[in-house]
């Protein structure tokens, strides 16, 4: 290997996300094995000690997320993860992170796309949401990982990377370099022990009551401020991608790996003369509603393709100008193992569902 050799390495998604997280400064990870998330835990456990970080194999997902919560409260760039079934167990802690205003990256290495409601609505208590990025392939997952650590710190909130078995296991030649995403506020809120014994110790509490001598805003003021913060995020952090939208009579809406397959079908159908395009929400929350409305305003039909019984469909219906143009062409499709996508995530069935709906 000479110095002129490319910097790209052949990595699977779990290894690539690990390298990207380390490049972003992640130094604490805790998790509990669950396929297809296990590869990420294995990579973190191998790599973090090499850079002075810590990785713990917890006894459950609940323990893992709370370990990471503790590390985040102490100011570390911390992360955890699982697949959607494990994130179900973590919901209480995710709400606590949001209400405590603690940054955390949660990698949902999902088994399919039935986690959309969980990611975008959440199952914990309070007026919070989780910024959720859904990469379409491994190189984008590398970018999203660094962006998520930045957003988590900027907004002091838990954020989600929504992966899947293809993101986890596909090997690609990638170049993982640290990206400069701009300055961040100092973590002067972190429990670093520096003010212990002074009477001015720091406190992180979902109720923000403060102390007798130093009262906080309390639940009313604190929870209003949190709701206002998530309103602000909803206005500024929505990301999406429009593909071949110009002149499209049919617009397909899809996210994650499914969008990669739809993109291929759009190329095929455009080559055959069909006026068709793709709208891809990159952030599942905040949902790019205004962009979707603009991309579909002139479309005769809006087809929603997702590997579930129709979850993103709710968001699409909220924002498309004429709801009667929206048709669902996705569905539940699970691999025989239960651990991955079923046969619907393939070019031929997607193409035939689009043509059937457009006929």
């Amino acid at each position: 290997v000479t110095s002129a050799a490319p910097a790209r390495e052949l990595l699977d998604g779990c290894a690539a996300i690990t390298e990207s997280a380390i490049a972003a400064g992640c130094r604490f990870f805790a998790g509990y094995p669950m396929s297809p998330f296990t590869g990420l835990l294995e990579n973190m456990s191998r790599r973090l000690p090499q850079v002075g970080g810590h990785c713990l194999n917890a006894e459950s997902e609940i323990e893992a997320v709370n370990m990471a919560l503790g590390a985040a409260a102490a100011g570390a760039r911390a992360a955890t993860g699982s697949c959607g079934q494990g994130l179900a167990l973590m919901q209480e802690a995710i709400a606590e992170l949001a209400l405590n205003e603690l940054p955390m990256v949660i990698v949902n290495m999902a088994r399919n796309q039935q986690d959309y409601f969980q990611a975008t609505r959440g199952g914990g208590w309070g007026d919070y949401r989780t910024i959720t990025l859904a990469p379409k392939d491994v190189p984008e997952a590398v970018e999203h990982t660094q962006l998520l650590f930045h957003l988590a710190d900027r907004y002091r909130a838990p954020v989600i990377l929504y992966g899947d078995p293809f993101i986890a296991q596909t090997h690609v030649s990638v170049d993982v370099t640290a990206r400069d995403l701009g300055p961040l506020p100092a973590k002067d809120w972190a429990l670093d022990g520096s003010t212990g014994g002074t009477g001015h110790s720091r406190q992180i509490w979902t109720w923000a009551m403060g102390k007798v001598t130093d009262p906080g805003p309390g639940p009313d003021g604190h929870w209003r401020a949190i709701a206002a913060k998530f309103d602000d995020i909803a206005r500024t952090e929505a990301r999406s991608e429009s593909y071949c939208i110009e002149g499209a009579e049919t617009v397909v809406v899809a996210f994650g790996s499914a969008a990669l397959f739809v993109e291929h079908v759009v190329d095929e159908l455009r080559a055959d003369g069909y006026p068709i395009g793709l709208f891809r929400p990159v952030t599942l929350w905040p949902f790019a509603g205004a962009e979707l409305a603009a991309a579909t305003r002139k479309a005769r039909r809006v087809l929603v393709f997702e590997l579930n019984a129709g979850q993103m469909l709710d968001d699409v219906r909220q924002f498309v100008h004429d709801r009667d143009t929206v048709r669902f062409i996705g569905g539940v499709s699970i691999h025989g193992s239960g651990l991955s996508f079923g046969p619907l995530l393939d070019v031929a069935p997607i193409r035939s569902r689009i043509l059937e709906a457009a006929a």
Partner: protein, 180 residues
């Protein structure tokens, strides 16, 4: 130039190591590569398949290929996916020590008696590397030397005793494609 290959066989034949070797050799040679695998939970004998796409510029490829310009058939069992998606007239390199090349239709079929060649090379476990050596002589994606370096990098320390046999198998496979 874009190249797609689906490698198909059964668990234990080295399908996954072949695919990783090809994808790593391509990456080290300055190409972009994508490798998507699917295999059963069985230690031996279950379905094992991998798709490798390489390109010399920005690569966009699906983890489940809609079609492929070539296939390496190590075993007839579980080979439906690879053969169904092989483009008409595409290249099918068939391990004729196990699978029947005549069963592959509508393709440019090249039979390589991989196990016989491997045995003759003193590398009876390395039939997959015979096929890989032969494949790159036909498709010219990477050099046989690049495959050898990638294989050395991938073989774990506790399997290092197989490296020289693997290298002999790669060379023997490549020699199959050189006109006598």
């Amino acid at each position: 130039v874009r190249n797609e290959v689906v490698i198909t066989g059964i668990g234990g034949q080295g399908i996954q190591l072949m695919a990783k070797t090809l994808a790593l050799a391509a990456t080290r040679s300055g190409l972009q590569a994508m490798l998507a695998s699917e295999f059963g939970g069985e230690m031996r004998g279950g379905p094992s398949q991998a798709s490798v796409v390489t390109d010399d510029h920005q690569l966009r490829a699906l983890p489940i290929l809609p079609s492929a310009s070539s296939a390496i058939v190590m075993h007839h069992k579980h080979s439906d996916f690879a053969l169904d998606r092989l483009e008409p007239g595409g290249l099918a390199l068939v391990n004729s020590s196990v699978a029947d090349p005549a069963a592959v239709r509508d393709a440019e079929v090249i039979a390589v008696p991989a196990l016989d060649v491997a045995r003759a090379a003193g590398a009876p476990n390395a039939g997959g590397f015979v096929m890989l050596g032969a494949y790159v002589m036909v498709r010219q994606i990477v050099s046989v030397a690049a495959l050898g370096s990638a294989m050395r990098e991938l073989v774990p320390p506790y399997r290092a005793q197989h490296i020289s046999a693997n290298l002999r198998a790669l060379e023997a496979g490549a020699a199959q494609m050189v006109p006598a």
